[in-house]
C-alpha cells in the first residue's frame, strides 16, 4: 500500500527464497513496509516454511485458516513467520486449498511449532493436514458433532448450540515414556488457579516421565462472534476479554491489525498512551507472577506482600482507564482516554512508590535461603526445544533467546523510545523469574520516558473508510510474550476473519519438555513459571505404571506437597 520498493524490509529474504526454490512463490503482496504475504504452491508449503524458519531466523508466530470460498473459491492458510535475523520483518506464507480435496501437506514434521495450529485448523475448518501424526481434537469440546466446522462460513449460525451428547470427556492423553509409568491427572477444576485445564502426569515413583494436557475448556467461539454479531469497534472490547490479565495487549494487537490493513495513521499521542497502558498491564501481571512464585515455594507471606503492593498497579490502572483492568480504551484509529497533567503527576508518584516497595520485597525474596534451591535448575527449557517450538515472552528469554516484539518489531509508542531486551541463560524457573524482575523495572522506566516523550495533538483519528478484503497482522508484546492477531475486513462493515493468538498458546507445547525429569512436587511450580494466566491445574491423576494403578489427587494436595514437600500423596 504505502510501502515503496526502496524502503521495504525483507526483500533480501524473499530473493534468497526465490533463488533456492525458483517456482515455489507465485505472488507477493506487501501490507506494510515490513509485512509481506507470499503465495506459494501447496506442495512447496512445508519446504518454504522450513527454509524461512531455520535458514532465515524465522519463528512461527501464528497460523491462520480462512474460508475464502466466497471471495476466490478456495480455503486459505497463512503461516505467519516473525523474521528476527538481520532484517526484522514478518513474512506470511499463504497457500490455497481446494474445497474438493480439503487436504494440505502438514508442516509439523519440518517445523514442530506448527502442531497446535494444524490441529486447530482441522477442528475449525475441517482442513486435513496430511502427515500430521496427532489426530486428536484441540479446541472443540469432546461432544461437539463430528462434521460441524464452526468457522466455515456456511456451516452454522454463530448461536447454534447442538444437544449435548456425551457427559464424560473422552480425550486421549499421550505418553511417550518407554518404561511403565503412573498417571497423575490434574484438573480441570482447581482451587487457587484460574483457567480450567486437565493435566496428566506420567510418573515413575516421584519423577515425571512425560506429561500431556487438555486445554480449551474455555473455548467460547470469540472468532466467530467477531465475524458475525459485532462491528469493527466492538471487537476491541471483545479482544480485551481474550484474557483477564493481559487483555489490553490483545485489544491493541487487534486494533493495529485493522489499522495496518487499511493504512490508518494512528496519532502519535494515542500510540504513546497505548504503550503506557501496556506497561501498566505488565506491572500488575509480573507482580502477580512474582507473588505466585512465592506461593508455590511455600513463602505465603511473600505472596501476600506482593499482592498488597500489586494493588498500587491496579490503582494506577483505575486512575488511567477508569477500570482496574486496563479495559475498554481502544477504538480503531486511537484511544478513548487522554492522560492529563493531573494524571501524569499521579502516575509518576505511584510508580515511584511501586519501585521502592517492590525493591524491598525482592530483596526479601532473594535472600530467603530455600528460594534459590526450589527454582534453580528446575523446569529446564532446553534452548534447542525453544528454537523448535517458538515459545514467547519470559519463557523464551529465560532460555537465552533474544525475542521481544517491542524491540524486534517496534509498534505503538515503542517507536518513540528504545528499550533493552532482558535475557537469562539459566533456562530454569530462576531465569524466567529474573527476566520478569528485570522487566518490571524496565516497565517503570518506560512509563516515565513515554510520559515525557508523548507528543501533543489528538488521540483519535476518524473519517477513514473500511475497504473490503484487506488483511494485515497486528502484534504486541504482552506480559507473557507476543500476541499475534490477523484480521481481514469484510464487505458488510464487519470483519471477514479475525484470528487471535494469545501468547500462552505458543508456550503450552514446550511445557511437556519442561516437566520431564522433574519431581511431581515441582509440577505446579513449573506450570506457574510459564505464567499461564495461572497454574492451570486442579486435580492430578497420578498413574504409577510400575504399580499399575491410577489415583486422582486433589490439586490442593498437590499444591500443598509442592509447598511443604513432606508426606507425599503418592505413597
Amino acid at each position: 500500500m504505502t510501502a515503496t520498493s526502496e524502503t521495504r524490509i525483507g526483500q533480501d529474504i524473499l530473493a534468497a527464497l526465490r533463488a533456492k526454490m525458483p517456482h515455489a512463490v507465485t505472488e507477493e503482496r506487501w501490507q506494510t513496509n515490513d509485512q509481506v504475504t507470499i503465495t506459494v504452491k501447496l506442495n512447496s508449503l512445508p519446504d518454504v516454511v522450513r527454509t524461512l524458519y531455520y535458514e532465515h531466523d524465522g519463528w512461527l508466530s501464528t497460523m491462520v485458516g480462512n474460508d475464502e470460498r466466497s471471495i476466490n473459491g478456495t480455503y486459505a492458510l497463512y503461516y505467519v513467520l516473525s523474521m528476527e535475523g538481520a532484517a526484522k520483518c514478518h513474512v506470511v506464507v499463504h497457500t490455497e486449498i481446494s474445497p474438493d480435496s480439503l487436504e494440505f501437506p502438514s508442516v509439523t514434521p519440518s517445523v514442530p511449532a506448527a502442531v497446535w495450529y494444524e490441529r486447530e485448523v482441522r477442528d475449525m475448518f475441517g482442513l486435513r493436514p496430511v502427515g500430521l501424526p496427532d489426530e486428536r481434537r484441540l479446541v472443540l469440546p469432546d461432544d461437539w458433532p463430528d462434521d460441524l466446522y464452526p468457522l466455515r462460513k456456511d456451516s452454522m449460525d454463530y448461536r447454534f448450540r447442538p444437544e449435548p451428547t456425551e457427559d464424560n470427556e473422552n480425550y486421549r492423553f499421550v505418553n511417550d515414556a518407554k518404561q511403565e509409568t503412573t498417571v497423575v491427572p490434574l484438573g480441570p477444576l482447581h482451587i487457587t488457579s484460574d483457567e480450567p485445564g486437565h493435566f496428566r502426569l506420567f510418573v515413575d515413583g516421584e519423577t515425571i516421565i512425560d506429561a500431556d494436557y487438555r486445554m480449551f475448556y474455555v473455548h467460547r467461539g470469540m472468532e466467530k462472534l467477531a465475524e458475525t454479531r459485532m462491528g469493527y469497534n466492538e471487537v476491541t472490547f471483545l479482544a480485551d476479554r481474550v484474557c483477564g490479565i493481559c487483555g489490553y495487549a490483545h485489544s491493541v494487537a487487534y486494533a493495529s491489525s485493522v489499522e495496518n490493513a487499511l493504512g490508518i495513521e494512528v496519532p502519535a499521542r494515542a500510540q504513546a498512551i497505548r504503550a503506557i497502558l501496556l506497561e501498566t498491564e505488565r506491572l500488575h501481571s509480573h507482580l502477580l507472577n512474582l507473588g505466585l512464585v512465592c506461593h508455590f515455594t511455600g513463602f505465603d507471606s511473600g505472596f501476600m506482600q506482593f499482592f498488597r503492593v500489586r494493588e498500587k498497579a491496579m490503582t494506577l490502572a483505575e486512575m488511567l482507564t477508569g477500570s482496574r483492568k486496563t479495559y475498554a480504551i481502544n477504538l480503531i484509529g486511537g484511544v478513548r482516554r487522554d492522560i492529563l497533567g493531573e494524571q501524569k503527576a499521579a502516575t509518576l508518584a505511584l510508580i515511584a512508590e511501586l519501585r521502592a516497595e517492590v525493591t524491598r520485597l525482592l530483596d526479601i525474596l532473594m535472600s530467603t535461603p530455600n528460594f534459590a534451591g526450589r527454582v534453580a535448575n528446575v523446569g529446564r527449557l532446553d534452548p534447542q526445544i525453544a528454537r523448535d517450538y517458538s515459545p514467547v515472552g519470559p519463557v523464551v528469554r529465560g532460555s537465552g533467546h533474544r525475542r521481544d516484539t517491542r524491540a524486534d518489531h517496534p509498534f505503538a509508542g515503542y517507536k518513540l523510545v528504545g528499550l533493552p531486551v532482558n535475557t537469562q541463560a539459566g533456562c530454569d524457573i530462576l531465569s524466567r523469574t529474573q527476566v520478569r524482575i528485570a522487566e518490571f523495572y524496565d516497565s517503570i522506566d518506560l512509563i516515565e520516558r513515554l510520559l515525557d516523550a508523548a507528543p501533543g495533538g489528538p488521540i483519535l483519528t476518524e473519517g477513514f473508510t473500511y475497504r473490503p478484503h484487506r488483511f494485515a497482522l497486528g502484534y504486541t508484546e504482552a506480559p507473557r510474550g507476543e500476541d499475534m492477531h490477523w484480521s481481514m475486513t469484510g464487505d458488510n462493515q464487519k470483519l471477514y476473519r479475525w484470528r487471535c493468538r494469545a501468547s500462552t498458546y505458543n508456550n503450552w507445547p514446550v511445557l511437556r519438555y519442561m516437566l520431564r525429569g522433574n519431581t511431581v512436587s515441582d509440577a505446579p511450580l513449573i506450570v506457574g513459571s510459564i505464567d499461564p494466566c495461572y497454574s492451570c491445574t486442579d486435580r492430578v491423576t497420578i498413574v504409577d505404571v510400575n504399580k499399575a494403578r491410577a489415583r486422582t489427587i486433589a490439586y490442593k494436595e498437590m499444591e500443598r506437597y509442592c509447598r511443604d514437600r513432606t508426606n507425599s500423596p503418592l505413597k
Binding site: N168, L189, Y217, R220, G247, R336
Partner: protein, 263 residues
C-alpha cells in the same frame, strides 16, 4: 448461510436442576442466620481469568475478605458458597455440575461477573450455555466485568445478610408533555457539535466532554467582557499544559466558526 431460524430454536437449552423443598427451607435458614465463617469454592466455568484475579485481590491484604470469615477452600465438599464465574462453556458444563453435586446441602450459589450473571459479551455464542443460572439455581448475582474487589465484598456481605440490596428493578413511563431539552440552546447547534467532536478527538469521550462543557458554559455565560477575550484568558490561566492545548484547539475551532459566519 442456512435459511433463517429464530435464535431461540438454534440453541438447545440444557436441563436445569431443581431443589427439593427440604433443601430450599434449609437454605432459607442458612441465608437468614449464618453467623459463622462461610467457606467459598470457586468454579471457573470458562471465564477469561479477569474475575479470578479480582477474587484473589478481594482475599489479599488490601480488601481482605477473610475479615468476615470468608475463606476460599480447596474442595467443593467443604464449601458453603459456590462461586461460579464464566459463561459456562460447553466443555465445563459437566465439571461444573459435578462440583455443584459435590457440595453439601444447603449451599449458596453466587453467580459472579457479567459472564456468570447472563453470559456477558459471550451470551449467545455456540460454545457457551449463557450463564450460571442456565445450569444451576442461583441465589446472588454479582455483576461487573470483572466485579472490583469492593463489589465482591459488597456481594458477599449482601449474600450473608450484612448489607442490604440497593439495586431494584425499575421502569420509567414517559409522562405526558415530557420533552427533551436541547443542551446549550444559545450556541448554534452546528458549532456545538464541531466543538464536541474536536474535544473528543483530543481527550476522549469522558475527559473531552467535561472539558468542552467547561468551554461551552464559558461561551454562553452573559458577561460584559467580550467572549474572545474570556476564551483567551481561559487558555492562559490554565496551569496544565495538556488542558491548555485542548482549550487552544477549541479556541481555533470557535474563531474559525465566528469569522466564517461574519464573512
Amino acid at each position: 448461510m442456512n435459511a433463517f431460524t429464530p435464535p431461540d430454536e438454534l440453541a438447545v437449552k440444557p436441563a436445569g436442576l431443581s431443589m427439593s423443598e427440604d433443601v430450599a427451607r434449609m437454605k432459607g435458614t442458612l441465608l437468614k442466620n449464618i453467623r459463622r465463617s462461610a467457606y467459598v469454592y470457586r468454579v471457573d466455568c470458562g471465564g477469561c481469568n479477569g474475575c479470578e484475579i479480582e477474587i484473589f485481590a478481594a482475599i489479599t491484604p488490601i480488601f481482605d475478605a477473610e475479615r468476615f470469615g470468608i475463606k476460599v477452600v480447596a474442595s467443593p465438599r467443604h464449601a458453603d458458597i459456590l462461586l461460579f464465574t464464566g459463561a459456562v462453556t460447553r466443555s465445563m458444563r459437566m465439571p461444573a455440575l459435578r462440583a455443584y453435586e459435590a457440595a453439601p446441602d444447603p449451599k449458596i450459589v453466587v453467580s459472579y461477573g457479567a459472564c456468570g450473571c447472563s453470559g456477558g459479551i459471550f451470551h449467545d455464542l455456540y460454545c457457551v450455555w449463557g450463564g450460571t443460572d442456565q445450569i444451576v439455581p442461583v441465589d446472588v448475582y454479582i455483576p461487573g466485568c470483572p466485579p472490583t474487589p469492593a463489589a465482591t465484598i459488597y456481594g458477599f456481605a449482601m449474600a450473608l445478610g450484612l448489607l442490604d440490596q440497593r439495586l431494584k428493578e425499575e421502569t420509567h413511563h414517559e409522562a405526558a408533555g415530557e420533552k427533551v431539552a436541547l443542551a446549550h440552546p444559545d450556541i448554534p447547534y452546528g458549532l456545538r457539535v464541531q466543538l464536541e467532536r474536536e474535544a473528543r478527538a483530543m481527550a476522549g469521550y469522558r475527559q473531552g466532554r467535561d472539558i468542552v462543557e467547561e468551554f461551552l458554559t464559558l461561551i454562553e455565560t452573559r458577561d460584559p467582557a467580550p467572549v474572545t477575550a474570556r476564551i483567551g484568558d481561559l487558555v492562559t490561566r490554565e496551569g496544565d499544559p495538556r488542558r491548555a492545548e485542548i482549550f487552544q484547539r477549541l479556541q481555533t475551532v470557535f474563531t474559525a466558526a465566528i469569522t466564517g459566519d461574519a464573512s
